[in-house]
Amino acid sequence: MPDRKMFWRIIRRLLGANRGRVFVILLALGAGAAVTAALLNLQVDAKRRLTTEFRAFGANVVVAPKSTADSAPQARTLPETDYDKVPTILITMGGKSALLFSIGEIRSFGSTRPIPAVVVGAREEGWTSERFGLIQEVSDYVSRDEMNCFVGSKVAAQAGVHAGDRLFLREEESELTCHITAVEGPGSENDSNVVVSLPVAQRLTGLDGRISLIRVSFPGTPAQINNFIASLAQRLPDADVQGIRQFTQAEARIYNRISGLLSATVAIVLLLTGLSVMAAMTNVAMERKNDVGLMKAIGGATRRVLRLFLTEAALLGLVGGLIGAAAGILISMGLGKAVFGVAARPRLIVYPVTVALTIIVAIVSSYPLRRLANIRPASVFRGEA
C-alpha cells in the first residue's frame, strides 16, 4: 500500500532529520527505563537477601522438651533422632545444631580445686550461633589422641587455662581430659561454658542419644518462619517448637521497615522519573508545531498527523526502553554485588514490563500534541501562537 509506505517514510525522515533531538529523547527515556529496571529488579532481590542477612543473629527457632515439673537440666532431654528430623538448611543460609547442657566440674592440669561449670555438647551443621565470635587464643594444633574442646573467656580466666592446655572434666562418676583448641573472646554466648562434641558430652553425662535442645537458624520472611515452625511442630509432636521471640519479633519489625522503605522509594522514584521524563518529552513535542502546521496545510487529516507522531513516540519509547532496561538490569546486578556480595539475579519479567512502561510514558508525553490538532496552519507560519 503506497499510503503505508509513505507513512513509514515520513517517520524515517522525522527520526533522521534531527539527530541531536532524537538523541536527547532517547537519553531521557533510556535513563528512566534504566532506573525503573534497576530498582524493580533490585527490590525483589534485596528483600529476599535481607532475610538471609538475618542469619547474622544466629538461631531464630528453638526445639525444646515439653515443660515438666522436674527442673533439673539433665532431666529434660529430647531423643537425638529428633535432630535428624529437622530439615537440613543450606549452609550459606542458616543451619541447625543439637546441644546437650549439663553441669560438671572442671580442673586445670596444675590445680587441685575443681570448679563447677556448664559443659555443652554441640553438633552443628551450618551456622546457628553468632557468626562473628572473636577468638582470643588458638592452640597450634588439634589433638589426634585426645578430645578437643574450646572454652569461654570466663572459664579460661577462672580455671587459669590457655589454649593448648589440658582440662579435666568430671561429671558424676565419669571423667575425661580434653585439649583446649581455642579460647573464645568475651561477649560470646559460651563465655562461661566448656564446649565439647556431642558424643563426648553424652558419654560424660551418661545420656546416650539424648540432647537438651535443637537450635535452627531459618532464613525467610516472617510468614515463612511461622510456616516453618508450624510444620516442624507437626513433625516433632513430643517437643516444643518455638520462635526465639527476641529475634523473630525484631527481625519481622526490621524486615517490614526496610522493605516498606524500599517499596516506597521505588514507587516514588518510578512515578517521578516517569513525570520528569514526560516533562522533558513534552518540551520536545511542543517543538513539532511547525511540522504539524505544514502537514495540515498540505491537507493532512488531523488523525493521520497525530497517528504519525504517536508512532514516532512509541518507536522512540521502544528503542529507549530496550536499551535502558538492559542497562538497568546490569546496574542492579552490580548494585546487588556491591551490597550483598552476590549479584542480583536478573528477573526476565522486569524487562518487558520496563519496556512497556517506557513506551506508555513516551506516548503519554506526546499528549500535548493533541492540542496542536486545533491550531491553524496559517498562524503557525506567520510565527504567531
Binding site: 570448679i115 563447677p116 562461661s192 537438651s212 519489625r253 522503605l261 548494585l335
Partner: protein, 435 residues
C-alpha cells in the same frame, strides 16, 4: 539589555520554561526525598534494632563462674559476687549517656511459691519450685541535670509481653510467667506466697499480670528488685544488669583494644559510639563491674545496618543519576530548540561567549527556582515516607538543600553545555535560511 533579554525570554516562552522548570523540580524532588531519607535511615534503623533489646551486660568482676543454662542460673543463692544498686544511676553520666536507651538490674532467687488458687483437692498445699526474678519495671533514675530517666525491663527485653499490668515499683506485686501460671492455675488478682532460704523469708505478692516471653522467664515469677533483695538477703545489690545502647556499627578501628592506642586514637575511639567504647566507659563509672558486649546482638546488628545503609545509598545514587539524566536531557532540548534565536543573535554581532553566557544565566535561574521548588516538595515527600514507615519525619538538613541547588545548577549547565558548544560553531546564514 542583558536582563531584558532574559526577562523577555521567560515572558515570551513562559510555557516552555514552565515545562523545563517542572522537569527540574520533579527530578530534584526525587533527589531531595531520596537524600533526606538516606541520611536518616541509619539512625532510624539503629533505633529499630533496639527492639532486639540489650546489647551490653554488666556482671561483677570478682564473680564465680555462672552456671547458666537457657537463661537460668543454677548457682546457689550465696555463691558469686554482687554489685551495689546505688551505683547504677552513674551509667547515665558517661559521655554517650544519650545513647543509653534503657537498663535494668536483675537479681534472681530460687523460691518456693504457693497460691490459694493452686490448692485443689489433689494438691492441698504443695509448694512449687520457681525462680523469682527481681528487676525494674518502670523505675525512675535521677539524672545529673535534675531530670528523671524512666527505664526498666521493658526497654531491655522489648519482646516481653504482659497480659494485665506490670507491677508497680516499691510494691508487693508481681507478674508471673505464662507457663508458671498455667501449671499452677494462677490468674491476675490472685495472691502468691513466696519463700526463700528454707522458709526463712516470706512474702505475699499480688499477681498483676501474666508474662509471655517465649523463653525461660515463662516459668518464673517477676517481682520488684527490692522483693528479691529481701528474699535473698542481699539488700541494695544485684547480680546482672542489661543495658540497651544505640551504637555505631564497629569497623576495624572500633574493634581495636583501647589499651594499645595513642592518646589521640583513644580520644577518637571514645568519641565514637562503638558498642565497645560504650562498654569501656560504663566500666569506668561502675567500679568492680565487668561490662561485656553481647556479640550476637551487636555484631549481627552492625552487619545488617552496614548493608542496608549501603543499599539505600546506592538506590539514592541511582535516583540522582536518573534525575540528572532527565534534567540534562530537558535542558539540552531547550537549547536545541533555540537555534534560530542563537543564529539571529550571532548575525547581529554577538560573540559565542556572550550567547553562551546569556543562555547559561537563563538556565541557572531556572535551576535555582526549579531546585528550590523541588527541595520544598522533596522535603514534604520525605516527611510522608518517614512518618509512614518510621513514625518520625527526617529533619530537613541544610546540607541537602545546598547539595540539591548545586546539583541542579551543575546538571542544567552540563546539559546545556554540549548543544551550546555545537551552537558556537553554527554559521548563522544557513540556519536563518531555514536549512
Amino acid at each position: 539589555m542583558f536582563l531584558r533579554l532574559i526577562a523577555d525570554s521567560f515572558g515570551r516562552r513562559a510555557q516552555r520554561k514552565l515545562l523545563t522548570g517542572a522537569a527540574l523540580a520533579l527530578g530534584m524532588t526525587v533527589a531531595t526525598a531520596a537524600l533526606s531519607v538516606s541520611l536518616d535511615v541509619g539512625d532510624r534503623l539503629g533505633r529499630e534494632f533496639r527492639s532486639l533489646g540489650a546489647n551490653l551486660v554488666v556482671t561483677p568482676q570478682a564473680d564465680s563462674l555462672p552456671l547458666e543454662i537457657a537463661g537460668i542460673d543454677y548457682r546457689p543463692a550465696n555463691a558469686g559476687a554482687y554489685l551495689p544498686e546505688a551505683d547504677v544511676h552513674k551509667i547515665k553520666t558517661i559521655f554517650w549517656h544519650n545513647n543509653i536507651m534503657g537498663f535494668a538490674p536483675v537479681l534472681e532467687v530460687p523460691v518456693e511459691a504457693w497460691s490459694q488458687a493452686s490448692k485443689t483437692w489433689l494438691t492441698p498445699a504443695v509448694a512449687g519450685q520457681a525462680m523469682l526474678i527481681g528487676t525494674w519495671a518502670e523505675h525512675s533514675v535521677p539524672l545529673a541535670d535534675g531530670g528523671q530517666f524512666v527505664t526498666g525491663v521493658e526497654k531491655t527485653n522489648p519482646w516481653w509481653h504482659v497480659d494485665g499490668k506490670w507491677f508497680a515499683e516499691n510494691s508487693e506485686e508481681c507478674v508471673v510467667g505464662a507457663l508458671f501460671a498455667q501449671k499452677n492455675g494462677i490468674k491476675p488478682g490472685d495472691e502468691l506466697h513466696v519463700s526463700a532460704g528454707n522458709h526463712a523469708y516470706w512474702k505475699t505478692l499480688k499477681v498483676m499480670g501474666v508474662l509471655s516471653s517465649g523463653g525461660s522467664e515463662d516459668e518464673a515469677v517477676i517481682a520488684p528488685l527490692e522483693i528479691s533483695q529481701e528474699l535473698a538477703q542481699k539488700q541494695g545489690q544485684y547480680r546482672q544488669m542489661y543495658v540497651s545502647a544505640l551504637t555505631k556499627p564497629e569497623d576495624n578501628f572500633g574493634r581495636r583494644n583501647p589499651e594499645g592506642m595513642t592518646p589521640a586514637e583513644l580520644e577518637r575511639w571514645s568519641c565514637t559510639p562503638y558498642v565497645s567504647s560504650i562498654a569501656y566507659q560504663i566500666k569506668q563509672v561502675l567500679p568492680g563491674a565487668d561490662v561485656r558486649v553481647i556479640r550476637r546482638i551487636a555484631e549481627g546488628e552492625g552487619a545488617i545496618l552496614v548493608r542496608v545503609r549501603l543499599l539505600f545509598w546506592l538506590v539514592t545514587a541511582a535516583t540522582l543519576l536518573a534525575a540528572a539524566l532527565a534534567i540534562g536531557a530537558s535542558s539540552a532540548a531547550s537549547v536545541i530548540e533555540r537555534r534560530t534565536e542563537i543564529a539571529l543573535m550571532k548575525a547581529l554581532g554577538a560573540g559565542s561567549g556572550t550567547v553562551g553566557f546569556l543562555l547559561a544565566a537563563e538556565q541557572l535561574l531556572l535551576a535555582v527556582v526549579g531546585g528550590g521548588l523541588g527541595y520544598a516538595l522533596g522535603i514534604l515527600l520525605a516527611r510522608v515516607v518517614g512518618e509512614r514507615i518510621f513514625g518520625a519525619a527526617p529533619h530537613p538538613s541544610l546540607l541537602v538543600f545546598a547539595s540539591i541547588l548545586g546539583l541542579a545548577a551543575i546538571i542544567t549547565l552540563l546539559g546545556s553545555a554540549i548543544p551550546l558548544r555545537r551552537a558556537a560553531r553554527y554559521e548563522p546564514a544557513p540556519i536563518l535560511r531555514g536549512e
